[in-house]
């Protein structure tokens, strides 16, 4: 069949004529409709990373503790005591834009499955969210729907939501960002790879029946959105967290059985992707019989079955002699399982319906054969620095800033999430990083997500470096040492040169920062085509990071602890105001150079802070980030419920930059007076500037002669709701 005749069909599966030719070349014939649909799904940007793959090769993915890097359902890193942490972050932006509750809920569901497919018990969820300003009714609808969806799924499933972040910016109107990260824990010898490497094994489909929901969701996630996108609401899946919990418990039980070869979740591109990847990883083939798949409705075609993205389904591959034992597990959890196929020698996927072969494709072409795209990139000229208006009333600015949507307390959001279930949450949401006890040990994991969208918008390279550095700094402030990274790259339409330029620069920044801080990237996800009616989102790389604290007694809180303690600023303040919350509050245009991170100095700072915490010198540590120094000080005071007296903060920069600039590589700490010499020595050893800031105590937050705010007034401003 000629390419021209199939253009409409190609558009429906978001493939271009070159890709079609590549398919014909690989097959030696034209694909039938089902085969074309399968290619469309697996060759979608979402599944195949065809635009980003070449860039991602720059990322460091190895390290002495890495047990599993990218390419599996999730990454895994050794955390001692024979245990591994398994984690990944993933986007669910497009579905959430159309149907915020279910979009966000199934985003959480999908990432949970990725983690328990690896044999790990999900231990924590984090969410990185971006919305348009809340003065619009539609944005409020998206915001409330997404927050409710995350809570609805995680709370019912029984996995604590311990952290994340949310920013509001006009650039996300109509195209919210919903990234969910899941972290699980597993014994090394139970860590499982989803690889069907034994011909003759039985393929079981477990969990929900298959419906028509989500057909071509992966494709939908790989095209820009327009006014017709709402019509794709049926492409958004509906979540059932109750079923997912049963599925998780069953998979963890299965993981103890001999004869279970592989467990793979069904996510984007449904059965097509799960079956193909399982078999391809194991260098085998797979035969499927769609007739055996239990359905929710009648009249479903093989196309519907193969491309459905119905949630809460897993593929379980077992040796034939282990099927009975596996079925006992499913019966215990009252789960339904269909025997839908067999692992075969040879690298083909064959789909049959009532004995008729309806698809027959080489897995190598289907899974790995997509021609990579390298679209043209453009790099805008650097913008001039913005003109700074001087602050007249710093106290009013402080109160306005701390009440602003991007800085005010996130409690109204996280108190709707169960952040304690499983009894391991030592530091919950709202701090630099969450701290989670590793069950049965004296260790803890520190978890965070970060990504300041304005720094990246001003300079994708510097902004992404900053995100990595900040995530690491957040982890270090708890006393833990950063061990590995996952990332979600949310960008606009890469076919636009400026957007592809952003992606290129951002990945370069990610690679450089991870190399400098010796952090392997073990998993990740790319979400492109975040474009609505020709408007692209600001470039939004989100860094998820995991840290390890070897001794829980060496943890460090973020809030001021004791009256009379002395507060110090570590690090250097520069004349950097571009990209700050302060300028945003003033309504200044987003231009200029964002704060720049010096990775060598960052390393020294983080080492010095960790050293000080380990020696018990610090009573608290808090990263200086969005909002600048005064906001960080105010947060520490609010966290600890204690006042602070700063006689007057001076520095070599303007008062605006000193109070509200967001220079990176800074941490505020408090120490008991007698340990000050030790702190000075530890900082001097690593050449970290240290500046005395104030004394803990009193009922006010006081800075010099100009700012004196009663703590309860500060708290009221901070606790402005959403």
């Amino acid at each position: 069949m000629a390419v021209a005749l199939r253009r409409a069909q190609l558009e429906a599966v978001a493939l271009n004529p070159d890709e079609y030719r590549a398919i014909v070349h690989a097959l030696g014939r034209d694909p039938n409709d089902l085969e074309l649909g399968m290619f469309g799904a697996l060759w979608s940007e979402h599944c195949a990373y065809k635009t980003s793959k070449a860039l991602l090769r720059q990322l460091p993915t190895e390290g002495p503790h890495v047990l599993q890097g990218p390419g599996e359902n999730a990454g895994a890193v050794d955390i001692g005591d024979g245990l591994a942490v398994v984690f990944k972050i993933e986007s669910h932006n497009h579905p959430s834009a159309i149907e915020p509750y279910q979009g966000a809920a199934t985003g959480v569901g999908g990432i949970l499955r990725d983690v328990f497919a690896m044999g790990a018990r999900p231990a924590a969820i984090l969410d990185a969210l971006r919305f348009g300003p809340l003065d619009s009714g539609h944005n409020r609808h998206l915001f409330h729907g997404v927050v409710a969806g995350i809570g609805g799924y995680g709370n019912c499933f029984g996995c604590p939501t311990v952290g994340g972040e949310v920013y509001f910016d006009a650039g996300y109107a109509d195209n919210p960002i919903v990234n969910a990260m899941c972290v699980g824990i597993v014994a090394h010898d139970r860590l499982r790879r989803a690889s069907a490497d034994r011909a003759g094994d039985v393929v079981l489909l477990v969990g929900a029946d298959t419906g028509r929901d989500g057909i071509h969701g992966a494709t939908f996630a790989s095209v820009e959105m327009d006014e017709r996108s709402a019509e794709r609401r049926p492409a958004v899946q509906v979540g059932n967290p109750f079923l997912e919990k049963l599925l998780c418990d069953a998979c963890l039980r299965l993981n103890e059985l001999a004869g279970v070869t592989a467990i793979q979740d069904l996510g984007a591109a449904g059965l097509t992707s799960a079956a193909s990847e399982l078999a391809h990883r194991g260098r085998r083939g797979i035969d499927l019989d769609v007739e055996r798949v239990s359905r929710r409705e009648q009249g479903m075609t093989p196309y519907d079955v193969m491309l459905s993205e119905s949630q809460e389904r897993m593929l379980v591959v077992v040796r034939p002699d282990a099927e009975a034992a596996a079925r006992q597990v499913f019966d215990h959890f009252e789960l339904h399982a269909d025997r839908i196929g067999t692992v075969k020698a040879g690298g083909r996927i064959r789909v049959r319906e009532r004995g008729t072969l309806v698809a027959d494709l080489p897995l190598k072409a289907l899974v790995d054969g997509v021609p990579l795209r390298s679209p043209p990139a453009a790099f805008p000229d650097k913008q001039p620095a913005p003109v700074m208006p001087a602050i007249e009333e710093p106290e009013a600015v402080l109160l306005d800033l701390i009440a602003s949507p991007n800085l005010r307390s996130r409690r109204p959001i996280y108190r709707t999430y169960d952040h304690q279930v499983q009894d391991n949450t030592v530091f919950g949401p709202g701090f630099d990083a969450a701290l989670l006890r590793v069950p049965g040990t004296n260790r803890a994991l520190a978890l965070t997500t970060d990504g300041n969208p304005w720094y990246v918008a001003l300079d994708p390279y510097e902004g992404t470096k900053a995100a990595v550095a900040e995530a690491a700094r957040n982890i270090v402030c708890t006393g833990a040492r950063p061990i590995a990274v996952t990332n979600c790259l949310n960008f606009g339409n890469p076919e636009r040169p400026a957007v592809f330029g952003q992606l290129q620069e951002s990945v370069r920044g990610l690679a450089d920062a991870c190399r400098a801080l010796e952090l392997p990237v073990v998993s990740g996800n790319v979400s492109l085509y975040n474009e609505t009616s020709e408007r692209n989102i600001p470039p939004t790389p989100v860094i998820g990071m995991v840290g390890l604290l070897d001794d829980l007694s060496k943890r460090c809180p973020a809030g001021l602890q004791e009256d009379g303690d002395l507060v110090f600023l570590l690090g250097e303040t520069r004349e950097e105001l571009a990209g700050s919350e302060y300028l945003r509050l003033l309504g200044a245009p987003a231009e200029g150079r964002p704060p720049m991170v010096n990775l060598e100095m960052e390393r020294r700072l983080q080492a010095a802070v960790l050293d000080s915490i380990t020696r018990g010198v610090l009573r608290c540590a808090h990263d200086v980030s969005d909002g600048g120094l005064l906001i960080a000080l105010a947060e520490s005071a609010l966290f600890g419920g204690r006042g602070l007296r700063c006689p007057g903060i001076v520095g070599p920069v303007s008062r605006e930059a000193l109070f509200f600039g967001e220079s990176l590589g800074r941490v505020i700490v408090s120490v008991t007076p007698r340990r000050v010499p030790e702190l000075q020595r530890l900082m001097a050893n690593r050449h970290i500037p240290l500046q005395a800031i104030g004394v803990v105590g009193g009922d006010d937050f006081q800075v010099g002669p100009d700012i004196r705010v009663p703590m309860d007034m500060l708290r009221r401003a901070w606790e402005t709701g959403f």
Binding site: C156, G158, F242, K245, L246, T416, Y417, Q420, V426
Partner: protein
């Protein structure tokens, strides 16, 4: 104190309760499957929190038909100690082992946060170690914890001293501001008339280690241990 922790499909506080009872308190415990019909080996039965059967109908409405609930009812009627936490409290009400109902939170939102509880009586099996007026800091985590009862029932349980815990301010005053979910008279937990069955919305199993923020939940479990010893003597 041989403890049974009932697991319905969708229960998730089972492991936390087991951790508190066996790891923290060093008492023997086992899980009880929802299909079991005998609890003869047990002295204390806990119905933990979670979303039994997804709570897709009404919280606890399906769980109460599970085979194990007949055994729980018989166990309670024999005077066995039964503690329902969160979803477990909802199930005990659905099973008519405790009066009243738990409605959607007045905020219409799920709430997970620390609350202060005032112990109202020290006669129940789960407050024996406390003194009336004692404050406990224990977290809640629920969307449907808004205690409701008709006026007559409310008077009965108040008159009988069946109200075990009320939400209160840090200084012990029972105020509207301290009420996280709209519960009538700030009721957070109640007992049956006999005092051997208690239901509470807060999660004592989450407040058993200083590392996690409070050890006040231990009072609830330790009271049960003492209640059993008292029976034995």
């Amino acid at each position: 104190m041989k403890t049974g922790i009932v697991v319905f499909p969708g229960t998730w506080s089972d492991r936390d309760c087991a951790h508190a009872v066996s790891e923290v308190l060093g008492q023997p415990a086992r899980y009880v499957d929802h299909r079991e019909d005998s609890l003869d080996d047990l002295e204390l039965v806990i119905l933990p929190g979670g979303f039994s059967y997804g709570d897709y109908l009404r919280c606890g409405a399906i769980a109460r038909f599970a085979p194990v609930m007949e055994a729980v009812t018989a166990f309670a009627n024999r005077g066995g100690l039964v503690l329902g936490i969160c979803n477990g409290f909802q199930i005990l009400q659905e099973a008519r082992l405790l009066p009243g109902a738990l409605l959607r939170n007045a905020s219409c939102e799920f709430r997970c946060e620390w609350v202060n509880l005032r112990v109202e009586q020290s006669e129940s099996a789960f407050t024996l170690d406390c003194r009336p007026g004692q404050l406990l800091r224990i977290p809640i985590s629920h969307g449907e914890g808004n205690f409701f009862a008709d006026p007559q029932t409310l008077e009965t349980i108040e008159g009988n001293g069946q109200v075990v815990f009320r939400y209160c301010a840090p200084d012990g005053r029972v105020t509207n501001d301290a009420n996280p979910n709209g519960s009538l008279r700030n009721i957070a937990g109640i007992a049956n008339a006999r005092g051997n069955v208690v239901g509470m919305m807060p999660h004592p199993e989450r407040a058993c280690e200083a590392l996690l923020g409070s050890v006040d939940g231990l009072e609830v479990f330790r009271s049960a241990i003492h209640a059993l010893r008292r029976v034995a003597v």
